[in-house]
Amino acid sequence: MDNNLKEQILRSSGVNVLKCMRCGKCSGTCPSYDEMEYHPHQFVYMVEKGDIQKLMESESIYKCLTCFACVERCPRNVEPAKVVEAVRLAAIRQQGNNHLTPVQIPGMLDEDLPQQAIVTAFRKYTK
Amino acid sequence: MLMISLDRLDELFAAVAAKQTLYLPADREDGQAEYRRWEDGVKLSSRLNTVRSAKDFFFPQTEDLVEFKMEGKNIEVIDPRKESEDFVVFGVRACDARSFTILDKVYLVEPVDSYYKTRRDHGTVVTMACTRPEETCFCRTFGIDPTAPEGDCACWSDGESLFFRANTEKGEKFVDSISSLLDEGDTEKLEKINERTRDVLSKMPLANLSAENFGGDKLNEYFNSDKWGELSEACLGCGTCTFVCPTCQCYDIRDFDTGHGIKRFRCWDSCMYSDFTKMAHGNPRLTQLERFRQRFMHKLVYFPANNNGEFGCVGCGRCLSKCPISMNIVKVMKALEVK
């Protein structure tokens, strides 16, 4: 178990994962649930267990829309989205691990894509 | 006689203050005078006298006597006195100067009050002759000449210069210490001024007040006088007369619990107070009449009885102007007097 990594996630997210009472409302409310390998409640639980490497390697970290529905609805104020964000940052901050590079963009553009989404994507997927 | 021009007073005070602490009467914003520590800018008051007398310098209103420090259940006894420094009290009037003689008779006889003595030893009294007495003055009743004050060193002003004469060894030391500022001067004008002052005094309302019918042998004449009731009727039982009096010398000893120990201090007491000399059984003087009587009998009868006829009053007139109901020793003497 990588304790340093766990500490880093907890610190950068500011989340106390011990507050989770495992109700699963975060996952129940998540619009990206079916896209994700690991679901919001699993993020919280796995971070608590220190099982973080799997999360960092999973596509799930890029599937989170950061819509904050889980944050809004969590009855215990655990804020799972912040955990997902922290794990994602831990991943992309590693050298050469940008999830997105500028050269990839033109190929991904389509007419319906709002400008804001591109900006957001850069913010979320690059360091 | 050695003298200094009045416009060089600041120079003089600075020279004195450079060597020891100097106190002198200064005007307050309410027009009354009080003794203040001299520093640059403090001017000598032109008022005849201060509200509080000069006795404060030797017998302050409160004074720590001893301290007890408590550490758990252990008690340590501490003498709180600090090394005393020499000081000069300047501008004392003849009446107040005489009051020190009276206080000395109480505090410097055996057992000597070492607290008082230390202060007396370190203090130099520089007196100032009166030139403009007030209607409340009756010092001459007690044989005091306001134009020839006692004190370690006496001063006279002729309106232009200040003249000095040392009366004691301490006074000589004082004059020596300022001799570089002094010149020899002519006292002719001075004599005239003193003459005029004595003349004014004889025209004052109290000029003819005499104490000759009072004294240590007059206990029976006055103690049971039926005048006391009338005289004391309006007395509020406050301590104003006692506290402005230069000769009142009674004190109370009290303990103050500081939380870390005890400070045993003495403070002025007044025989006018209901708890004066309170004992286990209560107060020996039950009513205000008796307390009132005590104060005046003490000054006019008991004190002379124990001090070779010396009265316990110097006629400074403070109580005359300060008593809230204007009852005072003059009215008492006049009402009681049996010729």
Binding site: - | F256, T258, G259, H260, K263
Partner: protein
Amino acid sequence: MQVNDNNFEPVIVAFCCNWCSYAGADLSGTNRLNYPTNVKIIRVPCSCRVNPMFILRAFQRGADGVIICGCHPGDCHYTSGNYYARRRITLLYSMLDFLGIERDRTRLEWVSAAEGAKFAATMESFTEQVKALGPNRRLEDLRCRKQ
């Protein structure tokens, strides 16, 4: 000890009425709500028992702040005690202010038996407030100062 801004720990006396505020203080204990150790509570039956003499006494003896806590107006266990206290304390605080004593050294707060959180928060903020003022010098008795 030299007192400076960093290590000044004020002495704060809190008079708490037995029925509401003392119970409120107990409740903040029961709920483990932290507040500074500077605060020492004296139990009185009612806020109206607090004599101005006690407040002055506290300042004399080295208190840096005095706070009185009682039942909310209308809630007095004795029906009207806190109303009298309110007037008395208002006038006293106003007088202290008139004499130039820092007004932030005194406070009155109504704390009910249910307001453990309010009690703790009040004590926290009052302590901070007094800390900011520094030691009480204007109404202390020098004879009582710790050597």
